[in-house]
């Protein structure tokens, strides 16, 4: 049964390759879409969390008497009240649900409260008396391995010492550099929120905004001491995610309070609490040495990478694996020594954020490539083209690229794309806008280019399967999947896939819940279009086969002669034409678990076929810089990306634009300021995210389409690359404009005005 058998359509609902509109677009634009913060129950209580004010302290005692006595308070719970396993975690269960006798980061939850009014919650939280013995926090990732462990699991979360090829290679030309990336926040717009509703039989319903329903469910169940089936987790409307919702936040707290009070409990974080309530992008310190021959051929890359994991592991292991495996960028590098370590400190925990691991190293390897081009007297684009990976090449891990890798096409199309950037004539368009002091003559312009790549899907032997069910009844298809729609548009693509395979017009997306279907895996690592899209495709194909076989048997027809076209079942030979609604009065159902090609763990030298597939992107940035005030305006951003096949052009472009905005943010303004373990800017007045004025229009130079083998419809995930090469390109353009090294992002005004650090 091939796809070409579904032909000659007359239906209007968009299928694969068309710019279908979001099915949730009408409710989201009309205000009727229910976000997790909109949940309401007439009997509900409000929950709240007491957090540690210290990055490191021993808890001597906690007194809750005064808090319990506050009018309207129904529960005050502590570490000992956690009914099951006291720790949770994505990869390692190392993070306490509520702190025991020690707190390891500022903002760590210590106590939780439920009361009948948010004000009573606040009063109760203030009335809890915690006696802390304050300890000196271990906050320097460079030295933390040498100090007393701050956690029973030790201060090293994971080290990968990758060695590839001949270790004695030395290049004619060598360039060295040290680079730093600050901590970035995902800054999704809808803060953490959710509601737990206890059931009479001791089970519980949790409605929450998340990226991975079943992982949450399993961790919550363990912490509650319940069977997984006794926790039903349903996706509530998600106000953005970008990695920050891959870990648990308020999940177990809500369930504990609901169980304890036997009432529904709702919790909503403030923005400030949200900064403390989720993991951030790992800050990185990186040293590199590139070796090349005098004609610009890369022969060896050495690097030392230290990522600050903060107090708990979260997804640090996967982040350091990406940072290490992709440390040299999408180039042919026959010899490498990359030592990547992610360490534990008393800083805020870090974990997943769009492009995890690859964002940090892209900024460094691209700075190195520019440095190398300069040392060689070579054009930086030529240098990249000369070393660009191709299918059949080996990665640093020794893995051969068997899929598509249109790296040269990505580079060329982006670099050659004509620029429309004009010199600003309106002074309002100069850096600083209304607050500028520079005239046009004080502004310098720079243009630069960066290339990045990353793995798609989970790696290192992880079986991140996705289950989906399709039910076709009365001509209407219903898709059930626990894939978390976080804004990326899976619901749109799932409908398109269903229409494509079944020729139906109407596709209903059932609610995403653990109660009805198995895991879809995480909405992360650019994996859902491939994995859950693949599951939906196969479930629909199975339904198609079953249906045609049933009709063939009923009609005495040859099944190979039957096709589904636009809501009808017709025989190619003619004579048979049945309405699909009639043919499916009796429903047809199928349920499949979709898996990607197997991968393997990395060995002791960081070698192995650890990854499934790769996606590549390039950005060219043009910036204007007011060198007097250190203000930067990103004037133009142009991009090309390797996308496999485009399933929905409008959504692809939307991802490229949104992802680039987060990259621009990291390049010039976004930084969680952490001083002695304390976040100093937990608000949107002090943590700046790009506004409409900070973001230039993103020019799409090319979407390179080469169908990826093994990927449903050949489509690669497209969500992360836009955030990978954009930061590097913008930072490089500022370098070109100013002639400064700028070894750190975000580039702050002081880095430009006082480059030596003399303030």
């Amino acid at each position: 049964m091939t796809d070409t058998r579904v032909a000659a359509r007359t239906g209007t609902a968009p299928r694969i390759g068309e710019s279908a509109r979001r099915p949730d677009g009408a409710p989201k634009t009309s205000g009727s879409f229910a976000f997790s913060s909109d949940l309401w129950h007439d009997r509900m209580l409000w929950g709240g969390t007491l957090r540690s004010p210290h990055p490191s302290a021993r808890i001597r005692s906690i007194q809750i008497g005064a808090a319990v006595a506050v009018t309207g308070v129904h529960a005050v719970l502590l570490h000992d009240d956690v009914p099951g396993q006291k720790e949770f975690g994505l990869e390692h269960r190392d993070q306490p649900v509520l702190a025991g006798d020690i707190v390891r980061y500022e903002g760590e939850p210590v106590a939780i409260v439920a009361a009948d009014h948010p004000e009573a919650v606040r009063m109760a939280l203030e009335a809890i008396v915690v006696d802390y013995e304050v300890l000196a926090p271990a906050v320097d990732p460079m030295t933390v391995e040498e100090v007393e462990p701050i956690h029973p699991d030790g201060n090293l979360i994971r080290r990968i010492h990758l060695r590839h090829g001949d270790q004695d290679v030395v290049g004619d030309v060598q360039v060295e550099g040290t680079y730093e990336v600050a901590m970035q926040d995902q800054a999704f717009l809808g803060p953490e929120s959710g509601m737990a509703v206890p059931a009479d039989d001791g089970s519980i319903d949790l409605y929450v905004a998340t990226q991975w329903l079943h992982s949450d469910r399993d961790q919550v169940a363990d912490c509650l001491g319940l069977e997984p089936g006794s926790v039903r987790l349903t996706l509530a409307g998600v106000g953005g995610a970008f990695g920050a919702r891959e870990d648990l936040s308020l999940h177990v707290h809500l369930c504990m309070l609901a169980q304890h009070t036997d009432r529904p409990v709702k919790m909503v974080y403030s923005r400030e609490e949200s900064f403390h309530g989720h993991v951030h992008r790992h800050p990185a310190q990186m040293w590199y040495r590139h070796h090349a021959t005098s004609d610009g051929t890369l022969v060896r890359v050495e690097a030392r990478l230290v990522l600050d994991g903060g107090a708990y592991a979260s997804s640090s292991s996967a982040v350091i694996a990406n940072a290490t495996c992709f440390a040299a960028g999408p180039y042919r590098v026959p010899s490498a020594d990359i030592d990547g370590a992610v360490v534990r400190t008393n800083n805020p925990p870090c974990g997943a954020m769009r492009g995890f691991g690859a964002v940090q190293t892209c900024y460094a390897h691209e700075a190195q490539m520019d440095k190398l081009a300069e040392a060689l007297g070579m054009n930086p684009i030529e240098l990249r083209l000369h070393n660009a990976l191709e299918p059949g090449d080996e990665l640093l891990t020794g893995q051969t690229i068997t899929g598509t890798a249109p790296v040269a096409e990505v580079i060329r199309s982006c670099a050659e794309h004509p620029s429309a950037a004009a010199i600003a004539l309106d002074p309002m368009e100069l850096p600083g806008g209304a607050g500028r002091t520079a005239g046009p003559e004080d502004v310098v312009r720079g243009e630069a280019f960066a290339l990045g790549f990353k793995n798609l899907l989970f790696s290192e032997g992880f079986d991140d399967s996705s289950e989906a069910a399709c039910r076709l009844e009365g001509g209407v298809a219903t898709i059930t999947s626990a894939c978390a729609e976080v804004g990326q548009g899976f619901v749109t693509v799932a409908q398109q896939i269903t229409r494509e395979v079944l020729g139906v017009e109407e596709v209903v997306m059932a609610p995403a819940t653990t109660a009805t279907v198995g895991s879809a895996g995480s909405t992360s690592a650019s994996r859902q279009t491939w994995m859950s899209g693949g599951a939906v495709k196969e479930a629909c194909e199975k339904v198609r086969v079953q249906l045609l076989e049933r009709v063939a048997a009923q009609q005495g027809a040859d099944v190979s002669d039957l096709v589904l076209v636009d809501g009808r079942i017709v025989s190619l030979a003619g004579g048979l034409d049945i309405d699909l609604a009639e043919a499916t009065a009796e429903p047809v159902e199928a349920d499949v678990v979709f898996r990607h090609a197997q991968t393997w763990p990395l060995d002791d030298d960081g070698q192995g076929n650890a990854h499934v597939s790769f996606a590549f992107s390039a950005h060219r940035a043009i910036v204007d810089v007011d060198t007097g005030l250190g203000l930067v305006k990103v004037v133009e951003l142009t991009t090309s990306q390797d996308v496999g096949r485009i399933l929905n052009p409008m959504q692809v472009v939307g991802q490229l634009e949104g992802g680039a905005a987060q990259g621009v943010g990291l390049a010039v303004m976004e930084e969680v300021l952490v001083v002695d373990g304390r976040i100093r800017n937990a608000s949107f007045t002090d943590y700046l995210v790009p506004t409409a004025l900070d973001m230039p229009p993103v020019e799409i130079a090319a979407l390179i389409e080469q169908a990826e083998p093994g990927a449903p419809f050949g489509a690669k995930g497209i969500g992360e690359p836009p955030s990978i090469s954009s930061t590097a390109a913008v930072a490089a353009a500022i370098r070109v404009a100013t002639g400064l090294d700028l070894p750190r992002v975000p580039v702050r005004p002081t880095d430009i005005v006082f480059p030596e650090g003399e303030a």
């Binding site: 205000g31 909109d38 999704f188 905005a661 506004t691 973001m695």
Partner: protein, 150 residues
């Protein structure tokens, strides 16, 4: 304190604490949860509504300040015959992903287009500077506002 506010054309009267913010009055007292809260510092614009026809961040106002005023929330924008042209344009132009910023963004855009005719892309960007979107990179939002203002 008793406040009486015309919300989406209907007079709504409630007894609120004087410190109640307009956004909480709308969401918690009236159940109009289309208006979102994204920050604590009046920075994000997710809570934008129209007060007497002009856009205002409803987290910067007390409910009592809206006493006697005419407030339009996202729920009150659509007419008898379907979505408001601005809502339609946002949907059509893919000007939203998670949609959390959307109600505030749409209200701010409606007010902007109402105030200035002949907007160009730069004007839209300036006019929407007070509304954050983390998902879209703003490009499609600008496109949608321009489309709706034609």
């Amino acid at each position: 304190m008793e406040v009486s506010v015309t919300v989406n054309g209907e007079v709504r009267t409630a007894d609120v604490e004087p410190r109640t913010l307009l956004v909480h009055f709308l969401r918690d007292d009236l159940g109009l949860t289309g208006t979102n809260i994204g920050c604590d510092t009046s920075s994000c614009g997710a809570c934008t509504v129209l007060v007497d026809g002009r856009s205002a961040k409803s987290c910067t106002m007390l409910a009592v300040q809206a006493d006697g005023a005419d407030v339009t929330t996202i729920e009150g924008l659509a007419g008898e015959d379907g979505l408001h042209p601005m809502q339609e344009a946002f949907h059509e132009c893919h000007a939203l992903q998670c949609g959390y910023c959307t109600p505030g963004m749409v209200m701010a855009a409606v007010s902007l287009v109402d105030e200035y005719s002949d907007m160009d892309a730069d004007g839209v960007r300036e006019g929407l500077e007070g509304n954050l979107c983390r998902c879209t990179g703003y490009q499609n939002i600008v496109k949608a506002v321009l489309a709706a203002s034609e």
